[in-house]
Amino acid sequence: MLALVAPSVLFIALFFVAPLGLFLYRSIDNSEVPGWLPRTTAALASWSGEGLPDEPAFRAVAEDLAALSGSTALPLLGRRLNHNIPGFRGLITGTGGRVDLAKPGRMREQLIAIDARWGEPAYWQTIRRERHVVTPFYLLSALDLRYGASGAIERAPAESAIFLGLLGRTLAISLVVTGLCVLLGFPLAVTMAGASPARANALLILVLIPFWTSLLVRSTAWVILLQNSGVVNQLLVGLGLAQKPIPLIFNRVGLYIAMVHVLLPFMVLPLYSVLRNIPPELMRAAASLGAPPAVAFLRVYVPQALPGLVAGASLVFVLALGYYVTPALVGGPGDQMIGYFIAYFTNTAVNWGMASALGTLLLLVVALIYLALGRVVGLNRLAVR
C-alpha cells in the first residue's frame, strides 16, 4: 500500500509543495538587507528610530556600502530598498562608489555631503525596520498598507492604494464569468447528455474549438467582431436595432464575452461527464410517482448533477482568477485584474517579493472561499463521483 502511494506523494512533495512553499516564502523573504548591510543593521538595532542615528551607524553604512562597491550586489540592494522608498536605489548606488573610508572627519558629514538624503530620517528608519531576515512589507503592501513616519501601520495614500480594489474586481469578474458559464453550460450539457453519440461528439467538438485557438487570435477576432465599426455593430445599426454603435469591447461586456468563450469548455466537460451517468429511468420513475416535470427536475435531476456543476464552476472560477492577458486585450482601464500586476512584478519589475505577496493573497482568498463553500454545501459533495 505504502509503496504504491509513495511515488505520487514524493512527486507532489517535490514538484508542487516545495516550489509552492518557496514561492510563498518569497513574500516575506528579506535576507538581502541584513545579508548585505550586516554592520548597519546591527548598529541600527539599538537606535530608537527618532531623529538621525549616531556616528557609528553612519560609519557602519559607509563600510557596508564600500564593501559592496563595484559588485553587482550594490545595485541589487538598491533595487530591494527602492521597493520601500522610490529613489533609494540611486542613493545606494550613488553612495557606494563615492564613499571614502580613509577620509578624516565624521562619516555623518561625508555621507550627507555625498547625498543630502542621508540626513533624512525616513531612509534610516526603513533600513532599521527591514533589518530582519523576514519582512511583512510585501504582504502589507498587497493589502494597501504601509508603515507611517511614526512607525505605526497605516493605509497607503488613496492615489496608490490599488491592490484591494484589484482583488475585489478580480473576484467579482470571476464570479460573474462563473455564473454566465453555468447559465450557458448547463442547458448545453443536458442537451449533449441526452443526444445520440454522434451528435454529442459534434457538440463536444464545437465546445472544444476555442480551446485549440491561440489566445491572441481569439482575442483579436473578438476585437474585429465587436468594435464600433465591427461586424456586429454594423449589423445592429444596419437593421435599425441601434441608433449608433453600442460599445461592446474595451469594456466589461467585451471582457465577459471573451472570458466566457474561453472558459465554457471547463464548465461543460465535467458537467457532461456527470450528467451522462444519470440514469434516465430516475426521471421516468419520478414522473410515474406523480411529480410534475419541474419538480422532478429540481428534486431528482439537479441534486445528481450538483457534483458536476460544482466541479465545473470551481474550475472556471479558479482559472478566471488568474486571467490577465485577455483583460489587457479586450477590457478597458477599469477591467484590469490582479494577474496583470503579478505578471508585471515578476517579469518587468523583477520584484518577486511583491509578486509572491499578491499571489499569496489570491491563494488565501480562494482557500477561504472553498472553506466557506465546503461549510455550506458539504465538502464531500464537492468531490466528483
Binding site: P75, R89, G90, T93
Partner: protein, 355 residues
Amino acid sequence: MSKISRRWIALAAAALALVLAPPAVVAQTKLVVGNAGGSSADAERKVFYGPFASANKITIQEESFNQELAKIRSQVETGNLIWDMVSTTAINVATGCEEGLLEKVDWSKYFDPKVFRDVGGVSECGVPYLFVSGGLAYDGNRIKEAPKSWADFWNVRKWPGKRGLLYRAEQTFEIALMADGVPPAKAMEVLAAPGGPDRALKKLDEIKPHIHWWKNGAESINLLASGEVAMAYAWNGRVASANKTNNLNLKMELGAGHVSGCQYWAIMKGSKNKELAIKFIQYAVMAQNQADFVRVISYGPANRDAYALLSDQEKATLPGQHLDKASLQLGKLYLGFWLANGDSLLQRFVKFAAQ
C-alpha cells in the same frame, strides 16, 4: 470515443517522438538572438540576420523577448544561457549592465562613437541600432485641418472624437506635460521635479472621458484606421508600415514634440559567442545596412550617416528634422527617474485610468 482517443494518443506519441529525437548533427555555429518578434523582427531578419548568417556561414536563431528583464536575469543567474544577445531598451541596458547581466564591452574599439551622438551614443553594455519616435498621429483622410501641437490634440472641441493614448505612465506623462506647454526637451526635467507627476495626471484628467487607452502598437494603428479615435499617440514605424502595406494615409506631426528612444543590441553576460555577436553588431549598424533597415521598417536610423543615403520621401516619417523636439528615453535623468519611480507611478497611473 475510446477509438478516437486512442488515435489521438498515437498521434501525440508520434509528435513527442519527433520532438525528442536527437537532432541531426549541425556543425555550424549558432547565434541566438532574443528579439521582439513581429514586423521589427521580420525587418531584422531580412536586412541583418539573413545576409550576416549566410556571409559568415552561421545560423541565427531568434527567440521571443518582450523586454522582460526577468528572462535575462534567470538565464544569467542560473548559468544556463539560451541566448547570446538581445535587442532591448535603454532601461534594460542600464539595469542589466549595472546588475552584471550584460557584457561590458569597450565599444569605442569597434565603432566610431560620433555617428551615434544624435541618439545619445553607445552605452557601456549596448549599441543603439534603431530610433523609435512616438508622436501625434491622425488619419489624413478624415481630418481636414491638421493638428500642429499637443495642445491641439487636447482640443476636443475643435477636433471632436476620441484620443488614443498609450496605457503606461512612461511616455504618456511626458506627452501630457508637452500638452501643458512644457518644451519637449524639458519634459523629463519637469516630470522629475517635485509635483511633476501630479501636473501630468491633472492634464490627462482634462480629456479623460475622451481617451481610449491602447496597450500595443498594432492597436493604435487599428484605432486610427477604423476611425475609432480622431488622433492618437503612435510610434512612427507602425504608422509608416501601415501606410505602406494597408494603403492608408496616416500622418504624423513630429514637430508637436515626440518621445523617442533607441533599441539596443546587447550581449548576454557569459555568452560563448561574444566575438561573433560583436561582429554581428558591427554589421547591423553600418550606414548602408542602417539605411536598408529604415527602408523596410521606417524607424529612424541610429547611425546618423544613414540619413545621407535616404530619399526625402523615405525621411518623411523620420524625426530627422525634429530631433530638437524630442523627450529622449535615455540619459541619466530619464533612466534614474523611471528606475526609481516606475513601479509607484505605474500604480498611480492604473488607479487614475480606472477611476
